[in-house]
């Protein structure tokens, strides 16, 4: 049998609608027999309605936010993998930019960068990012 303290901890979560069916059942059994917790439940239901209304009245994000995020994503640095050997000083970098740019590949040999693929920005066609 649930105690009053346990019931009062669960009541706000019942009011918020997120208790499991099992917990709701146990709470209902307790509240049916406990007038103090029934009164608390009534107060919490009222408070819950007020809280939901107040939180929904919080201001929303100003317009234009998605465009700002999109602009930042387009400026993201390349992400990619480097495969090679430090000892030999040889590495191949393959990268796809954050948004809209074609695939590029470079060969780095002993500190020199040798373009292999897509470095004139003419390859790639339609890409989602």
């Amino acid at each position: 049998m649930m105690t009053c303290n346990e019931a009062r901890e669960l009541i706000p979560w019942y009011v918020a609608g997120s208790l499991s069916a099992h917990e709701v059942g146990e709470l209902a059994v307790h509240v049916a027999d406990c007038s103090d917790c029934r009164a608390q439940l009534a107060r919490d239901v009222s408070l819950g309605i007020d809280l939901e209304g107040a939180l929904k009245s919080l201001p929303g994000i100003p317009s234009g936010g998605f465009e700002k995020v999109s602009r930042q994503i387009k400026r993201l640095p390349s992400t990619g993998v480097d495969i090679g050997s430090f000892l030999a000083g040889l590495s191949v970098g393959l990268s796809a930019r954050g948004s809209g740019a074609p695939l590029k590949a470079d060969l780095k040999l002993l500190g020199y960068r040798i373009p292999l693929l897509g470095n004139e920005d003419k390859l790639g066609g339609q890409h989602d990012r």
Binding site: E9, P12, L47, P59, I61, G65
Partner: protein, 174 residues
Amino acid sequence: MSETRAVIDDQRLLSLVAAGKDEAFHRFYDEYANRVFRYALTLLRSRHLAEEVVQETMIAVWRSASKYAGLSKVSTWVFGIARNKAFGLLRREERGSRHPDIRLVEPDPADAISREQRVLHALNTLSQEQREVVFLAFYEGLAYQEVAQLLDIPEGTVKSRMYHAKRKLAEVLA
């Protein structure tokens, strides 16, 4: 829409974002931007900082959607990112010269203050930890187990924060 359906739709949408689909990302933004904004506003009490949290969160989602492992609901994952961004911004603000606004909402110049504003004022008297739990429960509808997972604290602590928050709200609104 049922909760299960919403969870599956969120996961499908996120998988499209992970595949780099711009349209899916736009839909994801539309679904979550306001929710993240209000969460950040509840935490930080600054519209300007809340806007920054949304931007940083959405960029993080775009970059790391493929890392979502499905261990929690997408919403819990997104709010986890937003929470980290919010506290990161707060730390930067505290080191710098800018300070968060004091109020969750601007005071109403009219004499008659609406019930909603009274409740928002009461929320403003809670600690940040209490406000967060109240928001996640009553706006996002998260269960206490989900809140505990998101905040990485014991379930008992979540219930305790809610209990004390509720008592304080009842006092202020009496």
